[in-house]
């Protein structure tokens, strides 16, 4: 479903070159759920943005749904997103001018869904906000806004869902509720899930865990499989060659 080869991202600010991602390799199969953890500034959001085709990589390839998005134009990537990708953000990113219902309808409309309103209502129902459809984001609490965002993400029935710290702006209890909802919807729709988070507990609920450290991604192998090493580098950096030269 997702395959990443030698992915590098370097930005130049002023005269300085900053390597944010340094040779990422990754493969996630359909239906799997993966968590990416790591300290702030490690490059987690950058990786997620690249995976979703929101930005161009400096080098390396990303295969999404079997297609190499590194070779696509921005519009082609957008079309791909419309068909296959859903998104949940830390800061919700609802459009302030649209009601909750309209926010959920938006991606349905963009992908040319036959009856966006009906579908949107179904998903609002699933996040328990059926009666708040006509409210604007500013009239909703943070947790409610994030539930609308969840409904919006799942409404298109995406193959892949990206979530960037979906609970980062919420208190623990509300966050917990969002997480339950996320996993419930996920198992219901059998979506491939890529989740960025700080919280170990949350990461543990995913099938696979990756650690991002200083631009390098490492998979934390579950204890049962590899008790002795505990860690398995996913990048070929150890072989000595520089992936991002």
């Amino acid at each position: 479903m997702i395959r990443v080869q030698n992915l590098c991202k370097t930005v130049t600010s002023g005269a300085q070159e900053l390597a944010i991602l340094r040779g990422i390799n990754l493969e996630i199969k359909a239906g799997e759920s993966a968590a990416i953890i790591g300290v702030s500034g490690a490059g987690k959001s950058t990786l997620l943005g690249l995976l979703a085709g929101l930005d161009n990589a400096t080098s390396g390839d990303i295969y999404l749904h079997g297609q190499n998005i590194s070779l696509m134009t921005e519009d082609q990537r957008a079309a791909l997103r419309a068909q296959h990708v859903g998104f949940v953000f830390q800061s919700f990113q609802l459009l302030p001018g649209l009601t909750a219902l309209e926010n959920v309808m938006l991606p349905l409309e963009l992908s040319g869904h036959a009856s966006p309103e009906t579908a949107a209502r179904v998903f609002l129902e699933k996040v328990d906000l059926a009666d708040r459809g006509h409210h604007y984001p500013r009239q909703l609490s943070g947790g409610e806004q994030q539930r609308v965002a969840l409904a919006r993400a799942f409404a298109v029935e995406p193959d892949i869902l990206f979530a960037d710290e979906p609970t980062g702006n919420l208190d623990e209890q509300t966050g917990q509720r969002i997480i339950e909802l996320l996993f419930a919807l996920n198992s219901e729709t059998r979506t491939t899930l890529v989740l960025v988070t700080h919280e170990m507990a949350l990461a543990q609920r995913c099938g696979r865990q990756f650690v991002m450290h200083d631009g390098v991604l490492t998979e934390a192998v579950s204890n049962a499989e590899s008790a002795d090493t505990g860690m398995k580098q996913s990048s070929p950096a150890q072989s000595g060659e520089l992936p991002c030269a």
Binding site: S45, T46, L48, G49, A52, G53, L54, D55, E74, D75, A78, A79, L80, R81, A82, Q83, V85, F87, F89, S91, Q93, L94, L95, P96, G97, L98, E102, L106, P107, E109, L110, S111, Y136, R138, G142, R152, V156, D164
Partner: protein, 832 residues
């Protein structure tokens, strides 16, 4: 249909989002102001022009020295035009023992085609208006002729070999004509009696005026047919050619209204630009989200283009309606001040409004929307991916050019549009440079020294430096417009009032013999009249320029150059008070002793027509003797000043050897008109020229025009305020954000309020300074090249406008930013 529905739904959503409101408001206001001003000035100037046709007694006049073929008039009648004929000549009028030279008009039955004649039963009596001339056998005489000939109405008088009954005193004619024609008092007969007088012989000097009236289309049609047939000496004229003083007033008024409307367009454009930028900025986040959700660039474009299209259509309809309401309100407020028939509404202003809306949308709103479609989806993760100043210079340039083109199309005056265009570009550049420099200077000075909040504020200003420059530039443009128009209005009014102050001379007296000066001054004193001073005058003809005979100089249009007839020459020791030296120097007593050649000072327009320069040698024929003089100075003067003015002025004594007389002008209130009979009886050889009727006409026009200009100026003030509101609103969002942070960091409300006021006041002050400079420069150009006036420098605006600008900005800013200050910081921060 589906697309339409989608667009409608989108616009409804966007409207609720609030970004669309200001843009819609600015667009609608732009359309209504443009439609309003354009329609008002167009209808008003058409009304004034229609009224001014009274001064011709027709819409067009064909002037000729010979009769024209009857077929010409038949052709005109077949094309639906009304025609009339006026033959004028000079002849003696006899009444008993008395005789007087008169300027006689023989008029056909249709005369006057437009306007009315004022007649009375007694000399200098109250006028009663009639729409026809004398019938066959009747003779109408000017009041002075009645006085000079000792006649009352009902008497008998003869012209040539025909006898007439003097039936009316002729008080006023719509087309009284120029002063030259008025040198002899007027008499009027019917054209049918002309042959019987036998005064018109081959070789006698008769001028014909063929009058035409009809619709503009018919006139243009006929003009096309006629023009190829015209011979030398036959002139097709409209009101502008016939009445120089009136034409100047009308032209200036029209120029002013045009200028005001053009600037109204520019200001509305600036407001739209500001609103559109904000619209773009506010939508960037939305676009990023939409793209993340899979919207393609084309979908984004469609989405926003549909919004703009609907917005534009709504603005045109609503603005057009409001504009017509505005026209109506303007005319209603003028009621009582003007007495002209207002022509019905016309389509052109609505078209101008619609095109303004389309162009402003295309030029100002499309670039931000275009940029929107390029917003990177990554923005959902990293907010700073977009540089907000990117493309601003380009879109500002496109905008200014677009507005310039619009003004050109609307005014048809490329000089005016180009001047304004260049001025606004220069202003924009200057504002940018100045603001960038000041900001970097402030940052440098405060570095390390200032406390937290102030440093944060300065950093914020620095970050917004391009936006700030744009704000200063647009507000400066608004202020400059306002200042220029305000000053110009004052100038025009002063100029007009100078000509037309109560008590300005309304009668000329010429042919005053040197021996009559003392008795005449006695007469004036006795009756408490004041005169404009006595000016010597010698009649002479210009024969040679640099030894080349005038008639051989091919490129001089003798008729227009006023040189093919006797001209009044004068002499003076001092430069007349309202004359100005353009080139050369006025003589001093010592100059005159030193040179043996006679110097002469020439009026500037004539010098240009005759291509004279300092040192040109002129030969005059004065009563058969010749005089050679050298051009020593070139003077400009105001022909509409109603004082004696001269093309050529010589030093005192140089014309001593030639028989001369004196000329004066004086003011006589209408009630004392009968005094003229006494005057003419006491000094029978003097010639009296009455211009009071002409002045009254001028006064009406000036009154109308001043009122109109005042109103249009008020509208431009509204436009300028709109720009300042848009200006404040443009920065509202980022301020809201910054101030929330500042307050969260512990800055007091007071501190933030002061900072805000200071920043707005600074923007206003800077804009005011630039506007003062810009308006002086713009005014110079406009006065010199568009309005044909002498330019004046206005130093006082440097004091007033910056203060005014600072206050306006601060007050508008305060009104809007109360929200910023009173919104709890959490509410703002939570929105992120």
């Amino acid at each position: 249909m589906r697309l339409m529905m989608l667009a409608l739904r989108n616009i409804r959503r966007a409207w609720r989002g609030g970004e669309l409101g200001l843009l819609a408001f600015s667009l609608t206001l732009a359309v209504s102001i443009v439609t309003g001003i354009a329609g008002f000035s167009e209808r008003l100037s058409r009304g004034m022009e229609q009224q001014s046709h009274h001064f011709l007694a027709a819409d067009r006049v064909l002037k000729t020295a010979r009769t024209v073929p009857d077929s010409w008039l038949l052709e005109a009648q077949q094309r639906g035009l009304k025609t009339a004929t006026v033959a004028s000549f000079r002849s003696m009028i006899y009444a008993g023992e008395q005789m007087q030279l008169a300027s006689i008009r023989a008029v056909s039955d249709g005369y006057p085609l437009i306007g009315q004649l004022g007649v009375s039963d007694a000399a200098f009596g109250d006028a009663q208006l009639v729409e026809h001339g004398p019938s066959a056998g009747e003779l109408w005489l000017d009041s002075r002729l009645l006085a000079l000939l000792d006649l009352t109405t009902g008497g008998e008088a003869g012209v040539g070999e025909a006898d007439f009954t003097v039936s009316r005193a002729l008080i006023s004619e719509p087309d009284r004509g120029n002063m030259n024609e008025m040198l002899a008092p007027r008499a009027m007969i019917n054209l049918a009696d002309l042959a019987a007088t036998k005064v018109v012989q081959p070789g006698s000097l008769v001028r014909y005026r063929y009058l035409f009236a009809g619709s503009e289309a018919q006139l243009a049609d006929y003009e096309n047919w006629l023009t190829p047939l015209l011979e030398a000496g036959q002139r097709w004229e409209d009101v502008r050619d016939g009445q120089p003083a009136m034409a100047t007033t009308l032209k200036r008024a029209e120029g002013y209204l045009l200028l005001a409307a053009s600037l109204g367009v520019a200001l509305a454009g600036a407001a739209i630009a500001l609103a559109a930028r904000r619209y773009g900025q506010r939508n960037s986040d939305n676009v990023a989200v939409m793209k993340t959700l899979g919207a393609r660039r084309r979908q984004i474009l469609h989405h926003y283009l549909a919004q703009l299209a609907l917005l534009c259509a709504a603005a045109i309809v609503l603005g057009g309606l409001l504009g017509h309401g505005l026209q109506w309100a303007l005319f209603a407020s003028l009621q009582g001040l003007i007495d002209i028939d207002i022509p019905p509404p016309v389509w052109r202003p609505l078209l101008v409004g619609a095109i303004t809306a389309l162009l402003c949308t295309a030029v100002f709103a499309l670039p931000p929307v275009w940029r929107l479609s390029k917003v990177a989806p990554l923005r959902v993760l990293r907010r700073d991916t977009e540089d907000s100043s990117e493309g601003m210079v380009a879109s500002a340039l496109i905008g200014v050019t677009g507005i310039g083109g619009l003004m050109w199309w609307y005014s048809g005056n490329i000089q005016l549009s180009a001047a304004l265009l260049v001025a606004s570009i220069a202003l924009g550049l200057l504002a940018t440079v100045l603001v960038l420099w000041l900001v970097s200077q402030a940052r440098r000075l405060s570095a390390g020294r200032s406390r937290g909040a102030l440093r944060l504020a300065l950093a914020a200003i620095y970050r917004r430096r391009f936006a700030n420059a744009f704000q200063v530039a647009s507000f400066a443009l608004a202020l400059m417009t306002l200042t220029s128009l305000g000053l110009l209005r004052a100038n025009l009014l002063v100029d007009w009032q100078m000509q037309l102050t109560e008590g300005a001379p309304n009668h000329f007296l010429i042919n005053i013999q040197p021996t009559e000066i003392a008795p005449l001054e006695g007469f004036f004193q006795e009756h408490g009249l004041s005169n404009a001073g006595l000016y010597p005058m010698v009649r002479g003809r210009l024969t040679h320029i640099d030894q080349r005979a005038i008639k051989d100089i091919a490129d001089i249009d003798a008729e227009r150059g006023n040189v093919n007839r006797e001209i009044n020459l004068s002499w003076a020791a001092e430069l007349p008070s309202d004359n100005r030296i353009e080139a050369g120097t006025w003589w001093t007593a010592s100059d005159l002793v030193a040179t043996e050649r006679v110097p002469v000072s020439v009026e500037a327009d004539l010098a240009k027509q005759l291509q004279l320069s300092l040192g040109s040698e002129l030969s005059f024929n004065i009563g058969g003797q010749s005089l050679v003089a050298v051009v020593s100075s070139i003077r400009s003067l105001d022909w509409s000043s109603m004082r004696p003015n001269f093309y050529f002025i010589f030093p005192p004594d140089s014309l001593r050897d030639y028989a001369g007389s004196y000329i004066t002008s004086f003011y006589l209130p209408a009630a004392e008109k009968p005094l003229l009979t006494d005057l003419l009886r006491a000094f029978p050889t003097m010639t009296l020229i009455e211009i009071d009727a002409l002045i009254a006409q001028m006064n009406t026009v000036v009154g109308q025009v001043s009122a109109a200009i005042g109103l249009v100026l008020a509208l431009v003030v509204v436009c300028a305020l709109l720009v300042s509101v848009a200006n404040v609103q443009a920065s509202l969002d980022s301020r809201l954000q910054e101030n929330a942070i500042l307050r969260a960091l512990g800055a007091s409300r007071q501190l933030i309020a002061n900072g805000l006021l200071l920043e707005f006041a600074a923007v206003g002050f800077l804009a005011g300074l630039l506007a003062a400079l810009g308006s002086n420069i713009a005014l110079y150009g406009v006065q010199r090249w568009v309005l044909d006036m002498a330019p004046v420098w206005h130093g006082s605006v440097f004091m007033v406008v910056p203060v005014l600008g600072a206050m306006t900005m601060a007050i508008t800013g305060w009104l809007y930013c109360r929200v910023v200050i009173s919104t709890p910081p959490l509410q703002v921060l939570a929105r992120q």
